[in-house]
């Protein structure tokens, strides 16, 4: 699997790693949209099913993790991209997998990350007037708790 992915994405030279049993490819933020498009359309890998899209806050950056699966080839992998904390902006992949819609809205409202090109980035789980981004590590668990 790793060799195949390396061959398909040779021109991006992504950083490969392992999440236990899955290959992970870390792309640059500018390339992730193109990489996702290739991942879906390339017949050798054909990742047509977006299992999950997660935003993770690391001390120095935000990371988006795309867990991909192919219903035809029955293989899986995950893609990643980083964005600096000062400018947490990622391209939206809704144009590739429609199923990314709510995952991105959720990531945006809970982490303060922007997904450029998303058709409707309104609050999903929180009410409209809610201020702040509750999933950030700096956000306290309860009101009485100091951050």
């Amino acid at each position: 699997m790793e060799a195949l992915l390396k061959e398909v994405f040779s021109r991006f030279s992504p950083e490969t790693g392992y999440a236990v049993d899955e290959v992970t490819l870390l792309f640059r933020r500018e390339e992730i949209l193109e990489a996702c498009r290739i991942a879906k359309t390339d017949p050798r890998i054909n990742f047509d099913f977006l299992r999950c899209l997660s935003v993770v806050e690391y001390p120095e950056s935000f990371q988006v993790v795309y867990h991909l699966y192919s219903t035809t080839k029955r293989h899986k992998a995950s893609f990643k991209a980083n964005a600096p904390t000062e400018n947490p902006m990622f391209p939206s992949v809704v144009s590739i997998w429609k199923g990314a819609d709510w995952h991105e809205r959720e990531g945006a409202e809970l982490f303060g990350v922007t997904f450029e090109g998303h058709p409707n980035l309104k609050h999903l789980l929180l009410y409209d007037e809610f201020e702040g981004y509750p999933m950030l590590k700096s956000y306290p668990f309860a009101e009485i708790e100091k951050p």
Partner: protein, 371 residues
Amino acid sequence: MAIDSSFNTVDMMVNMGPQHPSTHGVFRMVLTVDGERIVNAEPYIGYLHRGTEKLCEGQNYRQCIELFDRLDYLSNFNNELVFCMAVEKLMGLEVPQRAQYIRVILSELNRITSHLMFYGAFGADAGAITPFLYGFRERERTQALFESVSGARMMHGYFRVGGLAQDVPADFVKNVKELMPFLYQGIKEMDDLLSENDVFLPRTKGVGVLTAAEAIDLGVSGPILRACGVAEDLRRSDPYLVYDRLEFDVPVGQNGDCYDRYWVRMQEMYESLKIIGQAIEQLPDGPIVAQLPRGMLRPPKGEAYARGENPRGEFGVYVVSEGRDKPYRVKIRGPSFCNLMALKTLLKDAYIADSVVILGSVDIVLGDVDR
């Protein structure tokens, strides 16, 4: 009377929910209707948002299991299982055989109780109250079995990282063996009541059609995806536990309409019974929990994504560990959350009278949608 298309009409907004009996919880949708046809449907969720992912970050791994019970509250065992599998993956734990078999038996029984709940609610959505009463009869007895095993009817907290909290009671095998013919008979009766029913069929056949390509694009999984004709079942395509040793079929629909979604779930109950029958025969003796390090669970630094076939579809848990006793990040992929994204597509151009049946056929649990 022919309708003059040049006649000026105004679309009407109909608000459904959040407190509406057919929304299975607190779910709201705003329908824009042109006469009887739905032009646009806008779902609003989040009324039950409890911030489970954030709560997980503040608790240790053992405490997190209890939170997973409260997500999809109709398939508690399956939820716990996937979280435990994610942590076991991170720690590289080998779960003892006996624990794996008991996990399979309980997860499959839980699938049946969940589908029975679907059966009852779907019948009620289509306008028949009898299925609701029938479904609960079998469900009640299965829950009594769950109670004898875990001490609770719904929020079990029975699975642990590495195995189970305690061994099953001595009469567990006997009870399951007694329960199975009772369940089979009950499911057969329900099947006979609704599956060929002349009132039920026109309400569901050809209603709310989803194509396979749309379903895959929307990230829909579970019975809804299989109803579209895609034979995708994680127990087969990405086996976990001991499913690769058990014989069962994956029921697949053809048309992707409400009836096929119902039919796939009915067939799945028979398949689950088959799995339980084999698992109870093969159930080995031995330990029920793996050798764990003393004290707090501290998985090594890393990340893992575990997934399992829940009654409603693929339940995924992504855990990032920093080597501490609490997870650094937990992302939950709820099957209801992803399946609900298809609602907009399903409701487009449907009749407003069918909206309740279509929503019922998606079989959402709001605890899982809002997390």
